[in-house]
Symmetry: C2
Amino acid sequence: MNLPSKLIEDAVNEISRLPGIGKKTALRLALHLLKQKESVSEELAKSILALRKEIKYCSTCHNISDAETCSTCNSARRDRKVICVVEDIPDVLAIENTSQYNGLYHVLGGVISPIQGVGPDELHIESLMSRIAKSKDVEKIEEVILALPATMEGDTTSFYITRKLKEFGIKVSTIARGIPIGGELEYTDEITLGRSILSRINYSVD
Amino acid sequence: MNLPSKLIEDAVNEISRLPGIGKKTALRLALHLLKQKESVSEELAKSILALRKEIKYCSTCHNISDAETCSTCNSARRDRKVICVVEDIPDVLAIENTSQYNGLYHVLGGVISPIQGVGPDELHIESLMSRIAKSKDVEKIEEVILALPATMEGDTTSFYITRKLKEFGIKVSTIARGIPIGGELEYTDEITLGRSILSRINYSVD
């Protein structure tokens, strides 16, 4: 793409480094910004800089936070006896959106992946252990829910954490794998369908 | 969307003001930036600010430019006798990409649209007239090519400019409308097909 200005070329190059945004879209966005008031570009640039420079991570659960401890970890209305272990921040948001969970979280920051060179020490697994070890009285952790991706890496990580958690003798569960709500059996892949048969649950009608 | 941090909320709000980017994509982009080095966010913010604050528009053709006059208007290798009139900056890039045109440009900055309250005075039509009036000697403009959108507004603008250009007695042409290369007749809409029959061109085989 031959752009008539170095400034727009720089902007297009930087914007197109974002995932899922190619040169054409980047150019469209840059030209859009040129048509808007200067304040639009200023606010955008400011919020991006502030986000990157000032963001904090909760020292307890490693989710993003504005303070030392995040609002979920601080909340008195959450069930402090359950921790849901997730791979990354978007997973917390996804689970929060279901309104089906009221416990705490623990963000690992990834999953164990020998291929990508991610070992257990790169993840916040040790801090999960010390969190559980330190918990006591009414806040004693009774259950850890593993909500990790249904991939080889996710399963490996679940396995690793479950073994580590044995010493605490607490309940460990994993979110159900099966056919999605609204899913047709004939279009479900064999592995999912097979697993949903193996992990069938009791069903009774009163 | 309930976000755990004001900083990320601000960033998501600002990013999602860009056209074609919703809240979910904005969140994905924001979380991506958080995973990258700080310099990535800095460069992005800097290029956006610089683009908006420092961009210049060529005083001759109104295309974006780094200097008072753009590189196309300055170039000695362009045919200075032909001006191609376009709606906006991306159209210049699109025509440049064809490598089929070697003349100059004139960016109107829009098309006449009574519905959107855009009249001829909001556009760079007067400056086109003075450009033609001032041209002389070897640089005397001999042809104006109207490359405006094939819409009612585009046609209105072409009509308006053509009438204004009458006093100069120069050649005025418009880019061909017809079925696109590779297009099937049966899938072409009636108006396009009808117009391509009316504007049929001579065809001969030697």
